[in-house]
Structure formats: C-alpha cells, structure tokens
Amino acid sequence: MTGPAVRIERVSKSYGHVRALIDVSVDVPRGACVALVGESGSGKTTLLRCINRLVAFDAGQITVFGSNVLESDPVALRRAIGYVPQDGGLLPHWRVRRNVALVPWLDGAPDASTRAERAMAAVGLEPGMAERWPHELSGGQQQRAAVARAVAGGQSLVLLDEPFGALDAIARSDLQAMMIALREQSSLTLVLVTHDLTEAFRLATAVVVMRAGRVEQHAPPADIRNAPATPYVAALLARAGVEP
C-alpha cells in the first residue's frame, strides 16, 4: 500500500445555513505533516474532526490508509488515530501513567503500562512524572503527556488541534522541536490545525490555507511564502509578519 495516509475528497459540511466546508479535497501523504491554517471560522478544525468522525460530514469521502472512514466503526477508527486537543484534555482524576496508557488499556493490551512509559520517554517526560496527577504538571508537560497519550497505542496518524496554542513562547518552541523529532523518529503522519503560520512553516511539509470553508491554497511552505496564490494568502502572510 502506497496511497496517501489520509485522502479527503470533495467533503462538505453545513451547520444549518452555515456552510462550514465546501467541496474540500486534501491528500495527506504518509509521513507528511500537513498544517491546516486559517482564521477562526475558516473550517480548519471541522475538517480535522471529520477525519476521525468526531464531525459527521454531509457529502464527499474520506479514506484513512485506504479505508473509507464511513465504513469503519467510529470507536475503532478513533483508537487507531492519535488525537491531541488544545487544552490537553487529560483526565484530571487519573495519574499521568494511566492517562497515557488510555488507548492500549481500552484495547485490552496487557502491556499498556509499559507502552505508556515508552511513549512518555519518546516525548521527553521523565519517568517520575508517571505517578503525578495532571494538575501537578506544567502546561508544557501536560501537552507532552497528551502527545504521549496520542501515540502510546502505536498510532501512526495523529491529529493535533491547536496543540501548543495555550503555551508560552519558550514552551511552545520546545514542544515544536519535540514534535519534529518525534515525527522523524516514529515516522508519524501528522495533521495539524493551527492559526500560527510560523508554527505551520516550522513543522509542516505542506500547508493548507483555508478560507470560509474552501481551500485557498495548498502547497509546501516555501511556495506559500514565495508565491501566495491569492491576495488573501498574501494578506495573511503580511499580518503574520512572514517575510516573502
């Protein structure tokens, strides 16, 4: 199998009269990191959530590693795909080890705890953190734990929804560096929603600029920077202070 990790074909989604996604098509090659960028309301988060069926789209088709997501059991689909929400979403009443071990534990893996320890090491969390409660961790450590949880089940595709948006600049930069290393080391495919163009250019192999439910431009970071396809993209770049 050599097809893309995720293939999104002509997907549309409306909330009542609001058209959140209009005929969107995006391919995410294996091993790539595709960043979905755009302003609030552009549809980037909705598109991300269509991939693991947290959002039910109205039309079009999405395949993950060649399987139509609509033909998969949503629970099994979500366990197979890692997910990192913006606020970490750690369960406050579970210790870090148990949080990270969530998916292997749900799958009944006998070595769930060992897998959790391995995932924690991969995201740079010290073993001593395993017995802490989430509220005892810093914001950066919580997001590392959330990333560890997203890969502890051996997932090769991870969806990240503004994962570092709430962190200070230093922690964000550290986490981005960790993410780059983790992707290479574990040959992960990432789909990253962010409103931070600098983050997108640093992490992504391809950037999808979205505007009002449509794809405005889909290209490698350098191409977007050097050749904005539309005045909107150019304006977005200018506002973010990215030099052409």
Binding site: N52, L54, V75, A76, L77, R78, R79, A80, G82, Y83, P85, D87, G88, G89, L90, L91, P92, H93, L102, V103, L106, W133, P134, H135, A146, R149, A150
Partner: protein
C-alpha cells in the same frame, strides 16, 4: 456489621408494635381506634379503646393521626374504624358548608351528609361541646353577676381582655363577637396561648379566650360565659364510625354508643386537667373515667397513681430507653429505605436523562413538583392508596428524596470536565465508557451532595410521618405536643437532631471517599466557602 444493621431495620419494619405497617389481616381484624394529635382526642380515643376491650373486643390503637384531613382520609379509606370528631369541624372543615348556629341542626346536617356520601356514621354526641369559650375569674363573675356574654357586654368597658392573636384577627373571633354582643373592652392585649390562663389567674387581664374543655379552666376555677346569642358554631364531640365497622361489627358500634351523652363539659375539663396539667397518663385517666361513669369495673389501684416526684431528664430517657431504641430504629428505617430506593431510582434516571437532554428538563421539573407538595398533604394523599402506617410514609419520603438525587446527579454528570469528556470520546471511548470512567467519577461529589440533601430532608420529614401512624422519633414529638409534655417532645427531638448530624457526617465521609483524590483539594475549597 452492615448486615446486622440491615437485619435490625427489617425487624423494625416487620415486628408490629402498635403503630406497625398498614397491612390488614385477612380474618377478623381488631377495631382500629384512632385520634387526632391533641390531648382531648387522645383521651377520648383511649376511652373508646378501653371500653371496647372491657367487652372483649380486640382493639388496635392509632393515636395522633395528623389533624382532621389525615384522620378523616384514614376513616374513609377504612384504614381506621373510629375516632372522636367535632360536629363543627365536620361541617366547616370536611363538608366546607356555611356556618350554622344551632347545635341540633349542625348534628343533623353532618349526620345526613356523611351517611349519604361516605357511609360514615356520627354516633349520638358524647355530651359536651369543645367550642370557643370566653372565660373570667370566679371573683369577676360574682362581683359583676356575669353568666353570659350579654352580661359581659355591660361591664366590658371596665375590663382588660387578653386574647390570642389568632382570635383577635379572625372574623369568627373577636371582631364578630364584638359586633354581635356590642363588646368594648378597656384594653385588648395579645397573649400567647400558653400564657393566657396564667395571666388571667394572676389578675393581669380579666377576660381570656379559650376552648370550652381546656383543663386550665378547671384548674383555675374559671367561669365560662354562656354564648346566649349563639355566636360560636357548635362543636359537639361524637364518635365518628367508618362503614366497615358498621357492617362487620355492629356490636362494637353499640358498645361505643354507651358513652353518648355521658360526658359533660365540666367532666371533660377535669379529665383534660389530669392529663395536661397533672401529668397523669392518658390510659390511667381513661380507666378512671370509665369506671366512675359505671361503664367498667373499678380500676386497679396502681394504674391511676400519679407520679409524685419527677425523675431527672436523663433518668427519664433511661426509663424510656427500650421505646426510644425502637423509635430510633423505626426512624432509621424511615430514612434509610426511602433514601436507598431514591438512589436506586434516581441515579439511573438521571444518567438516562443525561443521554436524552430534551426529555431531561420536563422530567426533572415534574419530579420537582412533588417536592412542592407540603409533607402533611403528601402523606394524606397516600392514605387512600396505602392506608395508614409505615408504607405510605416510606413512599412519601421516597418521593421527596428523588428530586435532589435526580437534579444533583444530572447536573454533576452533565457538567463533568468537558475537555476530559471530549478527549475521551476523541480517543475512542464508547459513550458507556465515557460515562463509566469520566463523567461518573468526576460527578461523584455532586451526586453525593444530592444524596446528602435527600437524606437530611428525609430525616426531618420522617418526624412528620408519626402523624400518619408510621412511628419513629416523630411519635414522642407528636404525642408530647398533644399532651403538653416537654420531656416527651425532647426525648424525640434530641435523638432526631443527633441522628440528622450523624447521617450527614456519615454521608460527608462517603462523599469524601468517592471524590477522586486530585479533586479533593478543590472540594475542600468549596466547603470552606460554604
């Protein structure tokens, strides 16, 4: 330990102890004699009961049923067979008819209406009225030659009256009376029920209102002035007999009529005085009264001996310990069973509603409406369905426990950390797993808070269950209130308060242990803020 406690609770439920469950025996059942919760009613009911027993008719006592509506509902449903009632109450409170002033007409009206509507029979009146009474000191009466209210009107401008605030305000109290007789006092002082006779006896006031058979009238040798213009509605006392007893045991009804016309107001006043002021037991006074009327053999000498020295309160509690223990067990049963049933029904209902949000608000509001029904009314509603005794109380208390449990559980589960819930779902938890592993543990403190509220409501409301014959610690409170016996009241009220504190502390500990460890600090903050 737990099993032992459970066994004890069941024993308390199953062993009949006078106020036991409202279950009927299949064969001949004893005549169920009831009373309303005040001294004279207790005494008359006890006289009915002893009179029947003296003729070999088995009797079950259900004293102190909570006021007219409850006692009458119980009689109508057949849960009880006879209780003492007053014709004026039958006319005004049960038939809701217009007031009438002729005693014979009132009796004829209630007799006909009760017979037609419910097959319930008023036996011929006992011989006295317990109506509003205006009383003066004997000295005042003789100095001014007072025998009637018309006499009083002549000299009223020279006298000071002390009336209860209720009497001063009611249209059928002072305003109407003053209008009919042209009464104008030098001054009218509002006086508390408990104080007015003492104020009259000590000369602080010259005229008071009261009830014509109050024991205090006899105690202070007061003169009740005749209502020569028939202003006060007649309240003749009589036995009210249910349809079942008339049909199944006419002999018992005949025995009860032996008391008709035998009790005059002075006699009744003297009997009330012995109970309410002298502190003699209801049973002893009833025995003596029946004997002196020649209806039964002379009592055994010991029965009537009044207590000369009062034991200390602790000694008194020690004397009552066996009864107190039974009442406490019964009270625990009245709290525990409805609470457990409330949890069994309420928590799953709330969890179900949390999954069907649209149904939630209407259902929870409907459960909330139950909460707004006054407890005595809810207990009274239960009587036609479940009779009197423990069962209607259990059901009513169960209904009361539902709302806090459903509301608390629903809100707590709904509001459980939304980002943790979203993450659980996004990582592949089934809805059931989200509920089991995220919502429920995070909601545990809120669920327990609802259960605690329900428990405290049940402990408090359970004392009212005594008014429908369910027993428990409300029993000494109700009886004590009726017989003006403070020690009896306290012997129920203090253990009930202690029980409430223990139950709350116990549930607080459970709440603590069910709160996930990292959330405890937050819970501690919250309870400090409270």
């Amino acid at each position: 330990m737990l099993r032992l406690a459970a066994a004890a609770l069941w024993a308390a439920l199953l062993v009949p102890n006078g106020a036991a469950a409202g279950l009927r025996q299949a064969g001949a059942r004893p005549v169920v004699v009831a009373s309303k919760p005040f001294g004279e009613s207790y005494l008359l009911a006890e006289m009915f009961a002893q009179l029947l027993e003296s003729r070999g008719i088995p009797v079950e006592r259900r004293a102190g049923l909570g006021a007219t509506q409850v006692a009458f509902a119980a009689l109508r449903s057949g849960a009880i067979d006879v209780y003492p009632e007053y014709t004026g109450t039958g006319l005004l409170a049960i038939l809701h008819a217009a007031p009438m002033h002729d005693a014979g007409a009132v009796f004829d009206t209630v007799q006909r209406a009760f017979e037609q509507r419910w097959g319930i029979r008023w036996l011929p009146p006992l011989g006295f009225e317990n109506t509003y009474a205006i009383a003066v000191r004997a000295g005042t009466a003789s100095r001014y030659g007072l025998r009637t209210l018309s006499d009083l009107a002549r000299v009223a401008p020279r006298l000071t009256a002390g009336f209860t605030p209720d009497f001063i305000g009611r249209a059928d109290g002072l305003p109407g009376l003053a209008h009919v007789y042209g009464l104008h006092f030098a001054a009218v002082r509002p006086l508390d029920q408990a104080l007015k006779y003492r104020a009259l006896a000590s000369g602080k006031v010259d005229v008071v209102d009261g009830y014509s058979t109050d024991g205090s009238i006899a105690r202070y040798g007061l003169v009740v002035l005749g209502d020569d213009r028939h202003f006060f509605p007649p309240y003749q006392a009589a036995a009210l007999v249910g349809a079942r007893l008339q049909r199944d045991d006419p002999a018992a009804v005949t025995v009860l009529t032996e008391l008709s016309g035998r009790l005059s107001a002075p006699v009744m006043r003297a009997l009330n005085q012995r109970v309410e002021i002298g502190g003699e037991s209801v049973a002893a006074v009833a025995t003596a009264a029946l004997a002196s009327l020649g209806l039964t053999q002379a009592p055994r000498a010991v029965a009537a001996a009044p207590q000369t020295t009062k034991p200390s309160f602790t000694a008194y509690l020690w004397q009552r310990r066996a009864t107190l223990w039974n009442e406490t067990l019964r009270h625990l049963l009245l709290v525990a069973v409805p609470l457990v049933a409330g949890i069994i029904a309420g928590v799953p209902l709330a969890l179900w509603l949390e999954r069907r949000r649209r149904a939630a608000e209407p259902v929870i509001r409907a459960v909330g409406v139950l909460q707004t029904i006054p407890s005595i009314a809810l207990l009274a509603i239960m009587i036609p369905l479940l009779g009197v005794g423990v069962w209607p109380a259990l059901v009513a208390l169960w209904l009361y426990s539902l709302y806090p449990i459903v509301r608390g559980t629903f809100t707590a589960v709904r509001d459980a950390d939304p980002s943790a819930v979203a993450a659980g779902r996004a990582l592949g938890m089934t809805p059931a797993q989200v509920l089991r592993w995220i919502r429920t543990p995070l909601a545990a403190p809120g669920i327990m808070a609802g259960i605690r509220t329900a428990a405290v409501i049940d402990v408090g409301t359970a004392t009212l269950a005594a008014f429908i014959g369910a027993g428990g610690l409300g029993e000494p409170i109700a009886t004590g209130l009726a017989l003006n016996d403070t020690r009896l009241i306290l012997s129920g009220a203090i253990p009930a308060a202690v029980l409430a504190l223990i139950v709350d502390a116990l549930l607080a500990a459970v709440e603590w242990s069910t709160t996930p460890e990292p959330l405890r600090a937050a819970a501690r903050e919250r309870s400090r803020d409270r």
